[in-house]
Amino acid sequence: MSRRNNWPPVSLGRVMRTVSKVLLALCLLWNVGALAQQPTPFLPYPDLTPGGVFDVTLQDICTPGYSKKVRAVTKALRDQAYKSYGITSYQPGEYQLDHLIPLSIGGSNSISNLWPQSNNTSPWNARTKDALEQRLRKLVCSGQVDLETAQREIATNWINAYQKYIGASPPVAAKSEPLLAPNVTTETPPGTSAPNATKNEVWVNTRSGVYWKPGSQWFGKTKQGKFMAESDAVAAGYRLARGTGY
């Protein structure tokens, strides 16, 4: 009686095919996981977050304390917003649940107006959008920009709106660049007043993200920078440079 050779119990080819399938599945899972943990884009997806507004007037939104009164996002809405962007887990401070059309100019708490905006992306992130929101509210409440226009522009493309109402690019404080080391092109005596500055204006270093007051060492002296009102500089996210004596 002949004995059937049962060794190996499974052919080598079959083992290899199985291993290949497992590896492929692992790769797919890894990719899906990686995609899910990608930072959110600079702009929200228009189909998910087209923007939404409350039925409010200019007088409503320009009343002090308005935004606080109307801020009401339930946990269910928050969870839904993160889930719709494929974010299942995140670190504290990694994202900000952003109102695309900010509450301060009539945006609503609807899911159509909520998206998880990264705090870590550069140069466009939640911090830069906050600066735009402050600027737009100021312009709307002072009558310089129509409310509906502001709502439409920030909902359509908030980066374009930033460039229109604040500047071409946000201040970026590069990690490798000390904030107290501006790019100086000319050596001038400290405290020399800059010729183009007007009263109450500060000099912002648009590269490092800090600003200098009149009379300080680098006022009007850095390679990249511009003059602007101090309140506008603060609203745009610039910080007073350390060591200025103020």
Binding site: G52, D55, V56, K69, V70, A72, T74, N113
Partner: protein, 97 residues
Amino acid sequence: MPRNQKLTAVIKGRAVQSTTRETGKLVIVFDDRSTMTVKTAEIAAAISPGVKIKAVLESGYECALEFEDGSSITIQIIDPGASVAVRDRNNAIEYLG
């Protein structure tokens, strides 16, 4: 259904003076002349005048008003987070959500 603490704090104790059902919305006028407007997907049930608000519960597309007399109504809202507005007698905003 969880309680909407913020809205409950605003309208708790107010007595319903009248209600108006219009296309797509329910308007409740309280005895202090404040108004609550709810964008609703369907015609809401009638509310007896005089009942006082005890609490507001909200979950997804459902918003329930509980009254001190033990009764309650449930309203289907159109857009969670953007369907309820409460304004005071001077038309100033007290709540939006």
